[in-house]
Every structure is written in structure tokens, then in C-alpha cells.
């Protein structure tokens, strides 16, 4: 049981980290609450399934093309539907919800409500002491950590990362300093959707694919982002593992845990917020008036 908790906690935590860091990034840069974020994650998983079963391309190619296509889809949707109504917060919110619903319904129409599966990229397992670790889990963890490190390097070690962080801090001043704010938003959105797509690619072989798989991660992701502090990348990262492990512990330890996993994670979020209203590592955005 202990090993299950550790493995599941790490995997869940990493997937949530990929989702939440991406969401946090685009919220920070564009103040965009992107409800469709996890719908794009689902899109990546479905595209891998389509690539493998309908086009018969190799696994690696399917994964890469699905990630690229998802990013392109995210950028096109932003340009077409979100950008024209950027000034109207409520409308943007509904637009992203509607986009998520459209994506869900398209897959529901195309594939029905069936549970679909994708064969794992790596098979077999090895032993660490007495603990059995599946190669696929290790691969998933490796890819997740790699993607997170790559994002961190991009954000904190390159000039474009600096520009993105500037835009997140103060869009107007960044604009005055000669940063092309619209381009930075597109780049940040590309990174954000890309991370969601990577998360989808990791999840595809580990669990089932169905048209409603985006809802639970969406709720967990929102909880994580609030818990870690909105717009704080570090906070999102740490909170992901807190809630990922909390979920794993509840599922394996508490009776009826599968029903309560969401409740417990969200209760943790609310408790923390009562003590620290700005989240664990909240960046205090100056009041935008």
C-alpha cells in the first residue's frame, strides 16, 4: 500500500504540476482563466489514440504530432474566439467554458462515451528493494520532470522567459519597455497548452480515455492554482504534489476514498486559504483598478 501511495502520489502530482504550472503561466501573463485548459489535455490524449488506431503511425510520432497539433489548436482558438473579447472578463470565461464543452462534445460524437485505452510505450517492471516499479510509470515521471525543468529553464534563463515574466508582472510597463505583449501572450499560451498536451500524453497510457476525463483534473488544477497562489509558478508546483499525495493517501487509506478524494483535496485548499488568503506562495497583484 505504501508503494502505491508513493507511485500514485508522484505521478498524480507530476501531472497536476504540468497542468497547474501551465494554467498559472497563462493566468499570470494574460489574466485568462482558461477553463478549456484540461479540455486541451484531453484532446492530446485522444489525438494519440487516433494516431495509433486510425492512422497507424508509431507511438513516438503519435505523441509528438498530438502535442504539436494541440498547441496549434490552442493558439487558433485563442486568436479566433478569445482575443476579440479580451476586454470582457465574463464573456472570456464563458467562451472558454463553451470551448471546453465543444471539445468534449466533438469527442463524444466521434467516439461515444466508451472508455478507450492506449498501449503503454514501455512495458515490464523492475524491483527497487521489495517495491515493484513499472517502467511506464518511471517513463511518465521522467517526461513530466523533464518538461517541468525545460519550462523552468525557458522562463528563468532566457530572454524570452524574462519578457514573459515582465508581462506577467505589469503588462503596461512591459509594453512601454518595448516588449511585444501580444507576442509574449502567444508564446506563453503555446508553452501552457504544450504542457497540458504533455500531461495528456503521459495520462493516455496510464488511465482510460473518455470524453469526461477533463473535469476531475480541471477541478484539481484550479484547487492547486489557488492553493499555491495565483500566478505563482513555484506555488503551483509545490501545491501539485501536496494535493497529488493527499489524493493518493485518501484513495488507498480511507474507506469510500474514491468518492472522497476530490472533497479532501478541496477541503485542504479551503483550510489553507482560511489561514493564508493569498495561497501558499501568492504573488500580491497590485489591485487593478
Amino acid at each position: 500500500m505504501g508503494q502505491d501511495i508513493v507511485v500514485n502520489g508522484l505521478i498524480n502530482g507530476s501531472i497536476y504540476a504540468l497542468l497547474a504550472v501551465g494554467f498559472s503561466l497563462i493566468f499570470g501573463v494574460a489574466r485568462l482563466v482558461n477553463i478549456a485548459h484540461t479540455a486541451l489535455y484531453m484532446t492530446a490524449a485522444y489525438l494519440i489514440y487516433i494516431g495509433l488506431n486510425h492512422w497507424g503511425i508509431s507511438s513516438l510520432l503519435a505523441v509528438l504530432s498530438s502535442i504539436l497539433f494541440t498547441v496549434a489548436l490552442g493558439l487558433v482558438c485563442y486568436q479566433l474566439f478569445i482575443k476579440p473579447i479580451r476586454e470582457h472578463e465574463a464573456a472570456v470565461l464563458i467562451a472558454t467554458i463553451a470551448l471546453a464543452m465543444i471539445i468534449q462534445e466533438i469527442f463524444l460524437l466521434g467516439f461515444g462515451g466508451h472508455y478507450l485505452g492506449v498501449p503503454p510505450l514501455a512495458t515490464g517492471y523492475f524491483m527497487v528493494g521489495s517495491i515493484k516499479v513499472a517502467n511506464q510509470h518511471l517513463l511518465a515521471l521522467g517526461v513530466a520532470v523533464l518538461a517541468l525543468v525545460a519550462t523552468w529553464l525557458l522562463l528563468f534563463k532566457t530572454r524570452i522567459g524574462l519578457a514573459i515574466r515582465c508581462t506577467a508582472q505589469d503588462r503596461e510597463v512591459a509594453n512601454l519597455m518595448g516588449i511585444n505583449v501580444n507576442r509574449e501572450i502567444m508564446v506563453a499560451l503555446g508553452i501552457s497548452v504544450g504542457m497540458a498536451a504533455v500531461a495528456g500524453a503521459i495520462v493516455a497510457p496510464l488511465s482510460v480515455i473518455d470524453p469526461h476525463m477533463w473535469l476531475h483534473p480541471l477541478i484539481m488544477m484550479l484547487a492547486i492554482v489557488v492553493l499555491g497562489g495565483l500566478g505563482s509558478i513555484k506555488g503551483s508546483f509545490i501545491a501539485s504534489y501536496i494535493l497529488g499525495f493527499a489524493e493518493a493517501v485518501v484513495v488507498f487509506v480511507v474507506p469510500m476514498g474514491a468518492f472522497l478524494k476530490g472533497s479532501v483535496a478541496l477541503s485542504i485548499m479551503i483550510l489553507v486559504l482560511l489561514i493564508r488568503p493569498e495561497g501558499l506562495f501568492g504573488v500580491a497583484f497590485e489591485e487593478e483598478r
Binding site: 476586454e87 465574463a90 470565461l93 464563458i94 467562451a95 463553451a98 484547487a223 472522497l260 479551503i270
Partner: protein, 347 residues
């Protein structure tokens, strides 16, 4: 006799000069009259059922507007009030056998208490934090519903509630008249001094606090009012469906109410009501047309309408058929060249 004639003439003049002079007011009048006369012409149970549910959701959407539209405290978990009230009414009705005249108000009281319980901790939070935290509460409660199926019935929910009334026509009149009365009350609240303060809180909370107003108290009041009206809607829904399931707490219901409201146009009360009366029957109509793809068409329609009318459908239409006088801020028909009150030029 002369006095009676005087009053009749006065009422008629008032009616002509205050109601018929503006297309939006005439539209509301026609809407109310048509809604009240529908059962005279048709007894089609399917149509009446759709209109009954539409009225219930209209109360629900208007309560969201009262809480979130007016104060700007976006509530992502409005289904919480609806679900709590529906479950309260259902459980009391089934277990204690109280009549619905008592259970629906008790459900509304439960809604108010929920508003307090959620509001007190949440009002330390602002903006997006608040929105995303409120999303959590119905999901936590849903987990509990599934975890203790002995009390709540788990996935199947509570069933076997009393009917609202003996016949569907009665049901229809009860819900429609309640809807008209409650939305009028909500509209009056938003038009009062309290409503103006709620408006001001959305525009600039710091300025309101600087004006010596306890904004937290007003925001809590908004939460309670939202809970009250959503609670009435929830209790009604429980007795109309005669069963209460976890669907009343679902995230999709919380999202749905936001879609209805924003589609109709927030900060107006009549906007969300119109939104529900357009979108809910539309969804049912699409179910007949193409059952598998109805949500797809629905979502695409919402997206496209918002793309061209980000303020919402009703404010967009109103701005086309009416103009606001630049001098005295009174609205006139768009066809007029001059203001109907102060005769200033309208262009």
C-alpha cells in the same frame, strides 16, 4: 363616477406614457401576458413541463446575477445553494412528511445558511481566488453525498417527494407566478439603495469602503440573498422533479447558470431571465432535432453570440432599439430624433 373615470383615464395615460413608449417595456409586458395565457391555448404536457423548468432556472439564474453580476463576486459554485436546498426539501419531505408549503421555505432557509457558511470564510478572498474557491464547495458536498448513501441515496438520490400540486396546469401557474414575483423582487432590490451599493462594490470596492460603508457586510448580504432565491428555486425543482439527485450539485449546473446569465447579459436581472428563456427551450428543441449533437450546437451558438455581443444578448438588442439621452439619461425609442423628456437631440 367621475372620480372612477378619472382614475381609469389616469392609469391608461400612465400605461401609455410609461410602458408602451419604450419597446423594451412593451416586450416585458407581452412576455408576461403570453406566459400567463399559454395554458389557455395548449395543455401539451411536454411544453408546460419545459416552461415550468425554465421558470425555475430563471429564478436560479437571476439569483446568480444578484450575487455575482451585481457585486462582481463571481460564484463558480452556485449549484451549491440549489443542491443544498433541493436536498433539504427532499429529505425533510420524505423523512418527516412535511408538506411542500413548509419544505420549500425550509430549503430556502438552508440556502441562506449555506450562503453564510460559504460567505464568511470566502469573503476574505478576492476576484479569481473567490471564484475558484466557491467552485470547490459543491464538489466537496457531492463527495459526501456519494460517501454516505444511507442518508442521501447516493447516486440515485432521494425520490418519492410530494407533487407540487394536483395538476400540471397548477404547477405551471405556481412556478410562473413565483418566478415573476421573485424576479421582480430581485429587480427591486437591485434598484434600491442596497443595489446601488452592490453596484459600487463591483466598480470600486476601495472607494466604497472609503465612503464609510462596510463592504463585507453588503457582500455577505449578497451571498445570503443569492442563497435565498437559489434555495427557493432548488426547493421548487425538488418538488417538480419529485426526486433529488447529485445532478443538482454538478459542476455543469454551476457552469450552466453562468452561461445563461452571461449570454443574456449580466447586471440586469432581466438579462439572465431572458437568457434562460432563450437557451433552455433551445436546448430542448435541439434534443428533438439532433439528440447527440445538441450540446455541441448549443455551445457553438453561445460562443458565436458572445463573439459578436460580448455584453450579452439583451443589452445588445436594447442598445439597438433604444437610445439613452445624453442630457437627462432617459431612454427613448431609437427611431426618435429627440429625447422624449427633455427634447435634447439624441445623436
Amino acid at each position: 363616477m367621475g372620480l372612477i373615470w378619472f382614475y381609469i383615464r389616469k392609469t391608461f395615460t400612465l400605461f401609455r406614457n410609461e410602458v408602451l413608449v419604450l419597446p423594451s417595456r412593451t416586450a416585458v409586458l407581452v412576455f408576461v401576458v403570453v406566459l400567463l395565457l399559454i395554458p389557455v391555448f395548449t395543455h401539451d404536457p411536454y411544453l408546460l413541463r419545459i416552461l415550468i423548468l425554465t421558470s425555475v432556472f430563471a429564478i436560479f439564474a437571476a439569483s446568480w446575477d444578484l450575487l455575482s453580476g451585481f457585486t462582481g463576486q463571481i460564484n463558480f459554485g452556485h449549484a451549491l445553494f440549489f443542491g443544498v436546498a433541493a436536498y433539504t426539501s427532499g429529505l425533510i419531505n420524505v423523512n418527516a412528511k412535511l408538506p411542500h408549503l413548509l419544505t420549500i421555505p425550509l430549503g430556502a432557509v438552508a440556502g441562506v445558511l449555506t450562503g453564510l457558511i460559504v460567505g464568511i470564510p470566502c469573503l476574505r478572498l478576492k476576484g479569481t481566488y473567490l471564484a475558484l474557491t466557491t467552485l470547490a464547495f459543491p464538489i466537496i458536498l457531492m463527495g459526501l453525498v456519494f460517501a454516505i448513501p444511507e442518508v442521501t441515496g447516493g447516486e440515485l438520490g432521494v425520490s418519492g417527494l410530494d407533487r407540487l400540486s394536483a395538476s400540471r396546469i397548477h404547477d405551471y401557474y405556481i412556478t410562473v407566478i413565483l418566478m415573476l414575483v421573485l424576479t421582480s423582487i430581485m429587480w427591486k432590490i437591485t434598484d434600491s439603495n442596497t443595489g446601488i451599493i452592490l453596484h459600487a462594490i463591483r466598480e470600486d470596492e476601495v472607494a466604497v469602503r472609503a465612503g464609510g460603508i462596510n463592504t463585507t457586510r453588503y457582500k455577505l448580504l449578497a451571498f445570503c440573498l443569492g442563497g435565498l432565491f437559489a434555495g427557493i428555486a432548488g426547493g421548487l425543482y425538488a418538488h417538480i422533479m419529485r426526486t433529488v439527485g447529485p445532478s443538482t450539485l454538478e459542476v455543469s449546473l454551476s457552469f450552466q447558470v453562468i452561461i445563461w446569465s452571461v449570454f443574456g447579459g449580466i447586471v440586469s436581472i432581466y438579462g439572465p431571465v431572458a437568457g434562460v428563456f432563450i437557451l433552455f427551450p433551445l436546448a430542448e428543441f435541439l434534443r428533438l432535432l439532433w439528440p447527440e449533437g445538441r450540446m455541441l450546437i448549443y455551445a457553438i451558438l453561445v460562443l458565436l453570440v458572445l463573439l459578436y455581443m460580448p455584453e450579452g444578448l439583451i443589452p445588445w438588442i436594447r442598445d439597438r432599439i433604444e437610445k439613452e439621452c445624453p442630457r437627462c439619461k432617459v431612454r427613448s425609442v431609437a427611431t426618435r430624433k429627440t429625447c422624449r423628456v427633455c427634447t435634447a437631440s439624441l445623436d
